[in-house]
Symmetry: D2
Amino acid sequence: MKIALLLLLGITTLGMAHPPSKPRGRDIGIPFNGTPGKFNAITDVPGVLVGYTTRIEGQGVWKVGVGPIRTGVTVVMPTGKTAKNYPAGYFIFNGDGELTGIPPIHDYGIGFGPIGITNTNSVGIVRDAIGAWCYQKFATKNYLDFSFGLPIVGETWDGVLNDINGLHIQKEHVFSALDKAASGPIQEGNVGGGTGMVCYAFKGGTGTASRVITIGNKSYTVGVLVQANFGRRPDLLVAGMPVGQEITDLMPIINEKDGSIIAIVGTDVPLVSSQLNLVAKRVTMGIARTGTYGTNSSGDIFLAFSTQDVEPDPITKITTYKSIGKANLDVVFKATVEATEEAIINALVAAETMEGINNHKVYALPHDRLRDILKKYNRLQK
Amino acid sequence: MKIALLLLLGITTLGMAHPPSKPRGRDIGIPFNGTPGKFNAITDVPGVLVGYTTRIEGQGVWKVGVGPIRTGVTVVMPTGKTAKNYPAGYFIFNGDGELTGIPPIHDYGIGFGPIGITNTNSVGIVRDAIGAWCYQKFATKNYLDFSFGLPIVGETWDGVLNDINGLHIQKEHVFSALDKAASGPIQEGNVGGGTGMVCYAFKGGTGTASRVITIGNKSYTVGVLVQANFGRRPDLLVAGMPVGQEITDLMPIINEKDGSIIAIVGTDVPLVSSQLNLVAKRVTMGIARTGTYGTNSSGDIFLAFSTQDVEPDPITKITTYKSIGKANLDVVFKATVEATEEAIINALVAAETMEGINNHKVYALPHDRLRDILKKYNRLQK
Amino acid sequence: MKIALLLLLGITTLGMAHPPSKPRGRDIGIPFNGTPGKFNAITDVPGVLVGYTTRIEGQGVWKVGVGPIRTGVTVVMPTGKTAKNYPAGYFIFNGDGELTGIPPIHDYGIGFGPIGITNTNSVGIVRDAIGAWCYQKFATKNYLDFSFGLPIVGETWDGVLNDINGLHIQKEHVFSALDKAASGPIQEGNVGGGTGMVCYAFKGGTGTASRVITIGNKSYTVGVLVQANFGRRPDLLVAGMPVGQEITDLMPIINEKDGSIIAIVGTDVPLVSSQLNLVAKRVTMGIARTGTYGTNSSGDIFLAFSTQDVEPDPITKITTYKSIGKANLDVVFKATVEATEEAIINALVAAETMEGINNHKVYALPHDRLRDILKKYNRLQK
Amino acid sequence: MKIALLLLLGITTLGMAHPPSKPRGRDIGIPFNGTPGKFNAITDVPGVLVGYTTRIEGQGVWKVGVGPIRTGVTVVMPTGKTAKNYPAGYFIFNGDGELTGIPPIHDYGIGFGPIGITNTNSVGIVRDAIGAWCYQKFATKNYLDFSFGLPIVGETWDGVLNDINGLHIQKEHVFSALDKAASGPIQEGNVGGGTGMVCYAFKGGTGTASRVITIGNKSYTVGVLVQANFGRRPDLLVAGMPVGQEITDLMPIINEKDGSIIAIVGTDVPLVSSQLNLVAKRVTMGIARTGTYGTNSSGDIFLAFSTQDVEPDPITKITTYKSIGKANLDVVFKATVEATEEAIINALVAAETMEGINNHKVYALPHDRLRDILKKYNRLQK
């Protein structure tokens, strides 16, 4: 019904980041630990912006290059619309996917520019478009200009619903997501790169969550954004409950599809890249709590960044990094695991039933039945 | 003779691998997925042997070098008492620990000889003793003899209960565990390297489990053995239930101790080292299901091996590896996650309350209360 | 049509792979160890194809989006124009660069499809174009079609000579290189992705070399192709001689430019991915012999593949890999080091003086002076 | 003759660190780039101590457990005899060897305590002895005492000359090396862990070198210490000259022995662990300049540390790291490559002809013939 409306309008929603009015995981009584930030979103981390372009166009018979189109692009900007570097780390839990821009993070521990997430076959154009956008914003007149950078772009595969080989993401869709990226509350479910994704054989997509933590005498935020396109139905756990074994109907046409998840973890906790690699590894545990076991054909790749400033002193050439002592990493790890689990569940809760190519239909996780299951297992939060 | 002397002084159990008569996780109604092998143990994998030496001696006031002693050594022999190489992979989820023998596995994907697990401060002596034992068994007369190998030894830290700085593991304890290593059912809980370990602020230690899987037209086994010494009480989940938040008493003197877990995954599925690295990564997900988030000060290191033969042909110099096609790895991954979770719970279920140095007491997980909690959450298996 | 237009405006050479008539390193008396294959090229490895598109258009004043253009794209096809997977490994010696397609190689050790090399800012379009070409060639009618793959594309930065921010590589340039890729002798120097590159402050670019080796009772080939864009003049060694300290003139406008090198190693030696990772690491040693020390701002990324077949048996689901025994890897390592060094020197020897944007001029390594230096140091080969 | 004397005395030299009176690489006219520190040794880095125990005992027929003994232990103390942590990085170029203590460096980027180097079969005892020594020095009364640490110990294999399976390194040899460790000039060649090593089929062993560099407005030192036990004669290059092809006599009984190299890089340049990983990688290039190609059966493992202080602030829990900006890493990389090459050559130049088990004889690199070769190739430095 909402879908139908969108289809009639042939909507391409560029860069929207409006407040969600839909219930989220917590609203329907799923018990989660920890204290979320104001918007329970990665944008709770000061300075972090998120932008989307969503393309939901056409319906019915699949014709490569025409549609139906069910895809988009998500951008996360760690240092806003600036040319500042940021410390970054990553972890490849399952390598059947892509994340461009890995080598500089691996060796130099530094990220630059916006992070994109899209469908598998559009990684290249999103990568080049981010570079072109950065060049447009930040270029010097010098021919030794590196403002194009080595853009960071991840992906998951939306070919069950979307005409993925039709390559429907263009440069202007990326520019729009970047231009309109904003702080504040963000949409979840069928938006941005997550538009056409499937998770545990329910409609998946984009999800987010955050945690507020205290280290020493100061408060910090850890935020996670996921593009969730993974998991098989029987494995789905919600708050430890075997939801996937309770809801065995509402299956899409493909019930053994593998998939992927991209997770971005951002924080204002001062961390160096080796520590951010550890944070990225913890995402694995958040995912595990939703029941999957990391199937092949899945690209489960996680990026973590800290928003601390890393410019070297012009005289000494020395950068002064701040870094939480080892013993205090635990609250960051815990926040990462919790927010990852919640972001995935939020994606499932927010995503709405969608019809795609050849009328493939993927159903939303039904809120009422989820609530019933939580009740059955005495886990419904008041 | 020295051994006999030790036996007089206390309980030094050398290399015992007797059938357990105690209830295990499944026996008390915890729901686990999948089909275990005959003994639900790593020894279900054909050819794999396990041996223990357990030292439980002295009590009361702690005196470094004297005791009380609550420690031991565990050995896992992937290819029995032979000098055969085996394909191996590993994953360091949390690097605050030790696993010797990593570099050859990292680069050449090949393991050689028995794998040891002990307490942190005895890694060196166990390593050298395994090498000496291999030399004794396998040495040629040639001075270019490498039968000593590059032994693989992991550890967790038992200083809460054991006089760890007293260095109570000697060469003969290692030799005994190796000599008496056997197939069949194996002990769990306060045995071998796991003797003095603590897990989720309950008594932890050694645990094991296995899964029987089918690939193509053949049946295979995946077995896991863990030395579990990790986790904080409030985080403990059993079958997704917040057991750690339900049982808040029975706390040891140290309630915020961090810890570690070593996991060994063995299988007769023909896998190459790159695939075994993936299997080792999946252990993370099995651990995550028990509730931890991978704290600092923890060495969470996982080794995986396949028992396939890897000797090169003498003429062509070519080794013929067999390797499950990518799409069929999923059942191995799933078995690894499931058996890891169950092995940890088995360690908790088997371990008995122990008093160590200065009468520190660590309590066993009470079976009856665990059963009550499962019942409360409607998760008790009949 | 668009291509024809481009040809009218300048020299856009699509997919040419003609025999070089120019002298190569060996021809001018540089001493190299080992026995090269028939063409002393990566194409000596049976089944391996190479294709280029070279764009050299316009001259004089630099105008972004217009030119001058000095760039191109190189493709290497490990299994020819087929959809066969191949075992692959990689090594990031210096991570200030990009190689897409790393995660599947890291985790699954398998590559698929052609490998592209281009300029830094065109990685995305080359990646998507390779995917589109594969889809066009190999697509099934099934919507679960993954023939687009996760294309492997590397890069070096040609902004000293080329209007790199003008983004002059288009999809048709990539398609042309792919369509015309061939076996046999291949061009070196200012061709393909190497067109506008600079090496040790001389004109650099594309270079290749190969070695024939014997293992057991059989002969094999190891081939290397490099895109050489790295090194500072004073550091240049040729056959161990300090050539960079002997030729201090012929400097380009930028004498402290950093750079990068992409190296592709191919072989018909049966190797598994963990072994190919080791082969890729050895590239570092070949590069070191030319004098550099791996500066920052350099993306030194190496990919290695074996052409052995890796399809699983349909019944057992088992792939039978062949793999050279550990002790016989040495000849492969030696061949890789030697062929890498020679491929770099070949790139320097083949590249011709070029003028690019704003009339920046980068000089060819003068053959006569190189010969004089070899003579001075008693190293000239007859 | 000197050997004979030592043999008569059955000398076990504990912890000596006397000034060398022998010529070093530079003294005999080998051209090296860069400016060494005062002692051209790793001990030029302020605060770094080195200690040796050397065991040269017995001669003639080999009897396991008796001798002849040609081995020892080397210790490097990054922060002197203190319990301070230090940032550390590492690189495994060739994994057929051992370096204990890798996981904490991999994940937390922090080293603690002395670094040991010994023979392959004595790694365990050296590891435990370093731990015991640290416990003795630094232990608190608390049972949560981790002063034993996770000691870092590397090795190379000296079984050609030494009764390696006789296990002749004992705890007291390690303690002595630690107790007597000192700053100032250090011995090279047949000392410490390097005592019985073979390099390019000449006598190898311990070598060191350093470089003084300037970054921003300040002077720093990079020092390298190697235990060199690698390489085949025909491959030996000295300053780029094919010395191994010029000296084909003076071969030991085993002319195709593989081997290993451990390299320790220390510096007072403020670096974080990710940067130290990059420094460790550059060691590869220094080794490559001596001609090897990284054979199998070799453990080529490199550790790098910075002496900067890394204690967190007690209130904020934040550590302030200093880190050289990316662009200024190049001088550190260059110094590392140069000092590694020179340290290896210094080991070869310092090592004296040695007879070991069964009168195996390994010859020293003859200084006069080396000088002649340099002259022949017009490379002799005045």
